[in-house]
């Protein structure tokens, strides 16, 4: 490597730069260029970062789902579903409302352990394929999705079509004879509870790690 140029001195004076001071390692021109670029970057960041945060903020915003009364205990039986309308987002009028299907816990079909939150089973109508609204067909005892042919059995497990996990559920609790519907949670194919996910995101196997839930929206602790 004979043609390699010898290493340059760190000092500008050694490099014969006009107007260089003794002991100066960065030329004033280079310092000036660097400072101007830095000031420009600070100015651009000063408007770009707040705007970006402004747009991304809602991702990290905490949203509480309030408990809503949906009817007296006597209105719900264990062998069929009763539709009820709840409000998911109160700020957008009718498009913020959603249907849930409710019934009593039925030990003949329900296998999951009982606790305070599943005396009544509340099934979400968002299809777990891509979020279309499913409806319960009484004669078939199935939930059917109109969009892409997803079919779920009586407890909401997938029996056909493209959905990747059983229908989401809502916590329910009973207070003074009234049934209340609370936050939503997702279930895997064993109906184990998980923090709420969006449709299309499987929860079996590595699915729960590939599709993280919102950090600000978790299932209730110890459930």
């Amino acid at each position: 490597m004979a043609d390699r140029t010898p290493p340059k001195s760190k000092y500008t004076a050694d490099r014969n730069i006009p107007g260089a001071f003794e002991g100066e390692t960065v030329t004033r021109r280079r310092f000036m260029t660097g400072s101007a670029h830095t000031v420009g970057a600070v100015a651009a960041g000063a408007f770009a970062l707040p705007a970006l945060g402004f747009a991304l903020g809602p991702v990290f915003e905490e949203k509480r789902q309030p408990w809503q009364a949906v009817g007296a205990e006597t209105e719900f039986a264990g062998d069929t579903y009763v539709p009820r309308t709840i409000t998911i987002d109160a700020t957008v009028g009718d498009s913020g409302k959603s249907t849930v299907y409710l019934r009593k816990y039925n030990s003949a079909v329900d296998s999951e352990p009982r606790d305070d939150y599943n005396n009544y089973i509340a099934i979400s109508t968002a299809c777990m394929h891509l979020g279309c609204p499913v409806h319960f067909v009484t004669s078939a005892q199935r939930f059917i999705c109109p969009c892409h042919g997803g079919v779920y059995d009586f407890v909401g497990k997938v029996t056909g079509g493209p959905p990747v996990r059983p229908l989401d559920r809502f916590y329910t609790r009973v207070e003074g004879g009234q049934v209340f519907v609370g936050p939503r949670f997702s279930v895997n194919s064993e109906l184990k509870r998980f923090s709420p996910r969006d449709p299309g995101e499987p929860l079996d196997g590595v699915g729960q790690f590939l599709y993280p839930s919102r950090p600000t929206m978790r299932k209730l602790p110890n459930t």
Partner: protein
């Protein structure tokens, strides 16, 4: 008798006759003639200060290869469909209200009450499909004519970015009428985005501005649809066109260059 030549008094420059112009013998004289020259004068005034005419000539009067045919107009057709979308979109925005409680009503007003409203809305609605069809035809032309090869790879890449941005426009625009079809189609679309592993759930939240379709989802889609993406499309389209002018267009693959007999390899080596 010899002619006596009297000395001519010096004329002040203001009173000197104008130099001759080509065309008319004395240049414009009457006010009507001056008015006829107004456009040339205005263009000349701007060009003298910007030298833009050279750039315009460079852009408009290019050499094109032999065999250039109607397929080469698909890119311009895509651009004009974008311009049509931009113009009709601006005028639709004068009546549209991006609020989840009033959007549907404002679209109904446009369609039923506004003069030519249904027509302009229809142009925007059907024109969007037209733009997507044209962009794919243009892409197919580029692919089958081999026009993506060196040195035009970057233009292909920009074209793909433009295709993705056009798809973004289609997706965000679909929600704006806010009827049942657009609402559920957008829910399905956002959930398709969410099926991307790891980043998918966050992308869905960004698009919806939260865990559910809420008050700001529609205005967010509206802002993306009419401010963010059109600006990016216009800028990239400008760069796309610049590269087309810079690199020139390709001949169709069936047109072969006539090679000189002297340059044939076997002739040169012998």
């Amino acid at each position: 008798m010899a002619k006596l030549k009297l000395p001519v008094p010096p004329v002040p420059p203001q009173l000197k006759p104008l130099p001759k112009r080509p065309g008319k013998v004395y240049g414009p004289q009457t006010p009507i003639e001056h008015a006829g020259e107004a456009a040339a004068t205005a263009v000349g005034w701007i060009d003298e200060r910007t030298s833009l005419s050279g750039g315009a000539r460079w852009m408009m009067f290019r050499k094109v290869p032999k065999g250039t045919n109607w397929f080469y107009t698909l890119g311009s057709a895509t651009m004009f469909s974008f311009l049509s979308q931009a113009v009709t979109g601006v005028f639709l925005a004068m009546y549209y209200v991006p609020s989840s409680t009033r959007a549907y009503e404002s679209i109904r007003t446009i369609n039923n009450d506004v003069f030519l409203g249904e027509f302009v809305h229809g142009m925007h609605k059907w024109g969007s499909s037209m733009m997507v069809i044209l962009i794919f035809l243009h892409m197919g032309r580029t692919f089958f004519f081999g026009a993506y090869k060196y040195p035009r790879e970057l233009n292909w890449v920009i074209g793909v970015a433009l295709l993705i941005l056009t798809m973004t426009m289609s997706f965000t625009g679909y929600l704006l009428p806010f009827d049942q079809r657009s609402y559920w189609a957008s829910i399905v679309g956002v959930n398709i985005n969410g099926t991307g592993p790891l980043v998918g759930p966050y992308l869905s939240d960004f698009l919806r501005a939260g865990p559910n379709f809420g008050a700001t989802t529609l205005s967010r889609f509206y802002a993306i649809h009419m401010l963010l993406v059109p600006g990016a499309i216009a800028a990239l389209m400008g760069f796309h066109l610049f590269l087309v002018a810079r690199l020139g267009t390709t001949a169709p693959p069936w047109v072969r260059a006539k090679s000189s007999e002297q340059l044939r390899e076997e002739k040169v080596s012998s």
